[in-house]
């Protein structure tokens, strides 16, 4: 009797004994978490990443890339990371909401031994050095600001008509991403500093925070236009999305093109490249999403395969810094696909 009971119980219980998640062999599962779903540059980068990973599929290895976004909330991003780990993943690619707060993401990844490639928003070095399976792929914000300043300075020198009121100074507006955001601060500082170093006299009329967002930038610029009218001679934006918002605002205001300010962005979005082509924007700085996505894909596969080649080629075996490129009317065709 006891033998029968025991056997039945053993049959019922034993299949549930192994609670540890096993990995399906030959399937690389890459989980990507972005800070928001409505940043066109990030979305384009993620699309590139998916394509790059797809290219690296072989008959022996399938790659599943799943993407979720955090709606600008670090707590939500932490929960998503937890859910993705829970469902099973091999590599995490994280575009942090708050670059100064990756602690939970790192802790969860480390507990589950899942390497993390941070991208676009760089964690501080102290956080990145917490574990040897943490990497960063992105650009140096300062370089983009410097290049933006250089393009703007060159344009002003070659087009004296930019100084419409002929007062020897360029009245300008700054469109900034987020208050206190390291990249926004760095881009703004280096851009303005470069312009001054290049001998351009500037007069700041105002600055606006528009959360990297086109719609917000358009709204803020509408207010600026109603306040300053045609006084604004230049708009310097921390990214293309906000620059494009400024263009929309000027279109709505109904000024003729000669009354528009010159407008400069950063990122090299498709819409911005078109705007340079049609003369509504004068320049941008190309943030090489193809290069960054390619590196992330190479790194993910390399780590998964247990190879060290790609990792060893990184700066400090952690950082991949992609180079920005200047774009204006002279070379915009090279960037349009």
């Amino acid at each position: 009797m006891a033998v029968t009971v025991t056997l039945i119980i053993l049959i019922l219980v034993l299949p549930g004994c192994n609670q540890k998640t096993k990995r399906i062999e030959n399937t690389l599962r890459v989980s990507v978490v972005t800070y928001t779903h409505d940043d066109p540059f990030i979305n384009a980068t993620v699309d590139e990443l998916k394509e790059e990973l797809k290219k690296r599929e072989t008959e022996e290895r399938k790659i599943i890339t799943s993407v979720r976004s955090a709606d600008n909330d670090q707590k939500a991003q932490n929960e998503i990371v937890e859910e993705m780990i829970d469902a099973g993943c091999d590599i995490l690619c994280v575009n942090l909401v708050d670059r100064t707060d990756p602690t939970t993401v790192i802790r969860l990844a480390r507990q589950n031994d899942i390497p993390v490639i941070f991208f676009n928003r760089e964690p501080v070095p102290e956080d990145l050095s917490q574990w040897n399976q943490l990497y960063y792929v992105g650009c140096e914000a300062k370089q983009s600001g410097e290049m933006q300043g250089e393009i703007a300075a060159d344009y002003i020198k070659n087009h004296p008509e930019v100084d419409r009121n002929q007062d020897g100074r360029i009245q300008y507006i700054l469109l900034e991403g987020e208050a206190g955001h390291q990249d926004a601060i760095s881009r703004t500082d280096s851009s303005v500093k470069t312009l001054i170093e290049q001998g351009i006299n500037l007069e700041k009329l105002s600055y606006l925070f528009a959360d990297w967002n086109r719609g917000q930038a358009e709204n803020r610029m509408n207010q600026i236009i109603s306040q300053y009218g045609t006084e604004v001679e230049m708009v310097i934006s921390n990214n293309d999305e906000m620059a494009l918002g400024a263009i929309e605002a000027y279109k709505d205001a109904g000024y003729n093109r000669q009354e528009w300010p010159i407008i400069f962005g950063i990122d090299g979005l498709e819409d911005a490249l078109e705007a340079i082509q049609n003369g509504t924007m004068q320049g941008t700085v190309y943030n090489d999403k193809e290069d960054q996505a390619g590196e992330m894909a190479r790194l993910a596969v390399d780590i998964y395969d247990g190879k060290n080649q790609e990792v060893q080629s990184l700066q400090e075996e952690k950082y991949y810094v992609s180079q920005y490129r200047k774009v204006d009317i002279s070379n915009v065709e090279d960037f349009i696909k």
Binding site: A2, I24, C89
Partner: protein
């Protein structure tokens, strides 16, 4: 003889202790949360927000641990089977599955049936007859019919001599077959012509260009959420020669497109209800293994821009948050 008796008693005692150990283990396991895996295509896409909210709410109410599988495109039975196998190894207790296209999906699910309970959502498997699996979904035939009725109602000539282009979702899905059947039956006798039909597949084509290459039409009827988002977004640039767009969608983006008047009319399946009810059925099954899960049809609304902020629609909109 005496020695044999002692051995027998000792063996019996050992077995009783073992039995007691495993009984305790069973009860302790019962106290832990059961794990339910959800498999939908591209699970991070915003179009699933309402569905996942419904699933999450019901999982919380029923003390279940929800696992949202990390997925990309699910184009075949093989893709889905791999995800299921992965979660079987991840020790899940049950599944909520949006079935992959193709007839083979039913065969694959037959294999799963003996192993773990599952419920289908959004649509049944692709077959001539209903699969017989418990399914929580909208009436896809009715969705097509509702669109047809609204088109006739809105058109000044009740569609007499009008031309319609239809964009469908993936081929070989129950959703697709029934939606187009409902639309065609609903349009019968109206005097309009369906000039062309086109199956949308995500990611590998520019749908706007494909539409532009087809015969010009008065109306575009889009029976797939993702296609509606892509085509609706491009409508701003007047790419379709003024063709009015009617479609099916449950994402926040689809509602924004309606609000911006990129599309004229939207049929919205209640994804929150689908999520909530499917998880409830799974919870009952996990509580009582002999419980037979029930299929049910979820609500479908048809809305125009002017209906958008009516109190009646508030629940739909809240379910996205």
């Amino acid at each position: 003889m005496k020695k044999n008796k002692i051995t027998f008693i000792l063996t019996e005692l050992m077995l009783i202790v073992l039995a007691a150990f495993f009984i305790i283990r069973i009860f302790s396991d019962n106290e832990s949360m059961k794990r339910v895996a959800v498999i939908v295509e591209d699970s991070g896409d915003k179009r699933w927000d309402a569905l996942l909210n419904g699933l999450k709410q019901s999982a919380e109410n029923n003390n279940l641990h929800l696992i949202i599988c990390n997925t990309d495109l699910i184009e075949s039975m093989e893709d889905e089977e791999e995800l299921i196998n992965e979660q079987l190894q991840n020790n899940v207790d049950a599944f909520v599955i949006c079935p992959a296209p193709g007839k083979e999906t039913k065969t694959m699910l037959n294999r799963l049936q003996g192993e773990k309970p599952f419920i289908l959502i959004n649509e049944d498997t692709y077959a001539e007859e209903p699969s017989g699996y418990a399914t929580v979904k909208p009436d896809n035939y009715k969705i097509g019919q509702m669109l047809a009725e609204r088109l006739i109602q809105d058109d000044e000539e009740q569609l007499e001599n009008k031309k319609i282009g239809v964009i469908l979702g993936k081929a070989e899905t129950e959703e697709n077959v029934n939606r187009i059947a409902g639309l065609k039956d609903g349009l019968e006798g109206s005097g309009c012509e369906i000039s062309w039909e086109y199956n949308y597949a995500r990611g590998n084509q520019n749908t706007s260009e494909i539409i532009a290459s087809k015969k010009q039409v008065d109306y575009l009827v889009i029976l797939d959420n993702w296609a509606l988002e892509e085509v609706g977004e491009a409508a701003e640039e007047n790419k379709y020669h003024g063709a009015k767009i009617y479609g099916v969608g449950s994402s926040e983006k689809a509602i924004v497109l309606l609000d911006n008047q990129n599309i004229e009319c939207l049929v919205v399946p209640d994804d929150y209800e689908t999520g909530y009810k499917s998880m409830n059925e799974i919870a009952k099954k996990l509580r009582h293994s002999f419980y037979k899960m029930n299929s049910c049809e979820t609500e479908v609304r048809i809305i125009n821009k002017e209906d958008l902020y009516s109190k009646d629609l508030e629940r739909f909109l809240y379910s996205y948050e």
